[in-house]
Point group: D3
Chain length 164, copies 6
């Protein structure tokens, strides 16, 4: 087994995907921002009455997905053909759950785009709430599902479909 991002001299490179097939691909990633209950309450109120942290985080996440190849050095540029972010307020565990779903038709997968979208959305939530809560923790950023491409279907164990 080898880390394909390195050549035989041990230097990093952007792996050649010229010979890969162009197929429709989709990736789903998730993550969360854990916070004080009163911070979550402020987000919840804001969403309904006077401001919407999640609306800003959503725009940031989608723009982050498009910026992926300029941020991650060995990541191939590609055309995102669709992207969406969803949020859930989990009051029992005092956290915001984030899900990103990204599609493309290309030679490489969109895992990195989905994971980057979640990360940037989470950082945006942190930024917009940090005046009231510096203790927030961003975590559990992971690939949940991946379809298309030679490596086939990947489905992380123990993940439930989000009702929509």
């Amino acid at each position: 087994m080898e880390l394909t991002h390195f050549d035989s001299q041990g230097r990093a490179r952007m792996v050649d995907v010229s010979a890969k097939e162009v197929t429709r691909r989709e990736a789903v990633a998730r993550g969360e921002v854990r916070m004080h209950p009163r911070t979550l309450a402020l987000i919840k109120e804001g969403k309904m009455a006077k401001g919407d942290v999640l609306a800003v985080a959503q725009v940031a996440g989608i723009m982050g997905a498009k910026a992926t190849a300029s941020l991650i050095p060995m990541c191939h540029p590609l055309f995102i053909s669709g992207a969406r972010l969803d949020f859930q307020l989990d009051e029992n565990n005092s956290r915001v759950l984030i899900e990103a779903r990204v599609k493309t038709a290309g030679q490489t997968g969109v895992e990195m785009e989905a994971l980057t979208a979640v990360s940037i959305a989470a950082l945006t939530i942190y930024d917009m709430c940090k005046a009231v809560d510096k203790d927030m923790v961003i975590g559990e950023i992971r690939l949940v599902e991946k379809t298309g491409g030679k490596s086939g279907h990947y489905l992380r164990e123990g993940e439930e479909q989000w009702g929509k």
Copy 2:
């Protein structure tokens, strides 16, 4: 208590910091990438013999710190006067620990820059190892310390200084 990123109409804005003092500020953030032990072993070998995932992640993290204001919508642009990333391989828990330390002299803090540096470094580790391990999880991204500025010294409880 209010989320300062929203004005009285509830719309997002970039908060006016014109009247804030220019002071030296520093922020330290940490995070981790949890992975299969064999993935960690590949990183460790690569580092010494044939490739260095962490060297690439480090460059990506520092460049990510500089890109922060273009990624996080309400975040103020500022001049980073210094940035460094450090990594620890925690074999007991099969994870890579990441620490970013960012400095500036300005009117706003550099928490977001430090957190973004950690996030982009973590995503880069994921990208470079995903061919052998799709189950990695990025987590525990948090502010550890913050100095300078009116809000004073912030030190997260339970964090140990990294020996260097």
Copy 3:
């Protein structure tokens, strides 16, 4: 009278502002998107019930303000210390009115940042509504007020203060 962006050979340059004083500066710009009444109605409904074109346009406008120096060739980079966008739905004239207000402490003004914020917000409104209305027109993008700097206070005639 000379166009200061050209040197004595007629070539474009970024004007040297090294000797200019650092002062607090603010600029206000406005513009509009004219559209079919039913498009305006969709924006208005969306805003309240099921989607918010203006929330996305606002984020885009603020991020556009930060991107100004990378878009306008001879424009100086600077630190924006505050930015906000406001919108008004003018149903009588079937248009969305946009106002951007940008602040800095620096050696050059922020007119271009305010004008760019309005332009990007307007383009975003166009993008999000173009599936139902390709006839929209973006117009009347203008500087309304400018304070700070050697050239003094500029106030465009005939502009009314927006109630807030």
Copy 4:
């Protein structure tokens, strides 16, 4: 009729175009910068003798077209296969007319790229002339023609072909 940029929950998303056909597409957009006659005269002279505002605006417009997807949140990234900007000095009405023509072969149209090119070119003209004229107004930015794609041919009424 619905604003397709919103999902059923009212949140913005980047619309999925995976199933759309790849076709050759072209879009033409126009706009103008209105100014004092003496400003227009300076541009005209400069163009011939000692500097060329429009040459800089043209480069800015083409680079702006390429930056579109990073500026407009829900806009799909795509490959521009050709782009050109043309200008006309309309001395009767004391304004510079701008036309952008952008081509691609892809799954989405290039209206936004053409409109963005016109907007950035107009802002560049403003920037380069603002030392002598702060009263300039950018306006009438509109889609003039669009070919390719399922929605068919769009031709705005009342637009004349520019002689070339």
Copy 5:
């Protein structure tokens, strides 16, 4: 013979490549950084013992390749399907040799991407060594080989294949 980047009016444009065939294309570019022998010695030591200038330059070069279309005004955006940088320390002539190899499947070649990768890698070497050597010279940046596309195979005379 004509410079194809200009239209019949002499204005720059991005040449229309819509009708060009999509083929696999590859370009190889080379360049060098000449320096004091002691600077080269520091790079060599660092590489083995305590730091790796070339590892940073390599990441910068690959990211530079991806940024090409945003830097070179009339350059078409395209999808890089693979990129690698190699370095040689030429102690006889006290210089670092740089080679970039870039691949795509598209309608335009990747010469500019390969040349930009070499340029950014060279600038990064300069940046990281300038504290000890301001006299370094970046030079001999040239296209070495180009395959694919209508213009056929280009091979620069007098270039030897790098052993790998």
Copy 6:
């Protein structure tokens, strides 16, 4: 003597300049593009009659100067307070000479900005002429003069002042 971009563990970092003095700084860099005489003739004609390669290269160089910190990993972001590019057509040696002059008031010098401006301008010349000449060589990119900052005045030997 040490490469200051590495810390004591040998990892790259962005050097901390917080304690450096803010002074006015200027850097001058030069470079050249060597080409076939007929290519130089086309540039010369174009400049006067029907197109201006150098006008495009100049805009690209100035925008490149502003992009420096996003391209060179360990380079500090800073505010450019002025930038200009000049060109000379050296028909005796069949080459275009490029000079960039960049100013700032800050804690770090602008050598990298000046060198990057020259590099991007040279690449742009290559791009715009490559259809008629693939043999061009970019070379002799070097720092010519540097003023301001603790390290004092640097003046490269053997460089003549360009008459202007």
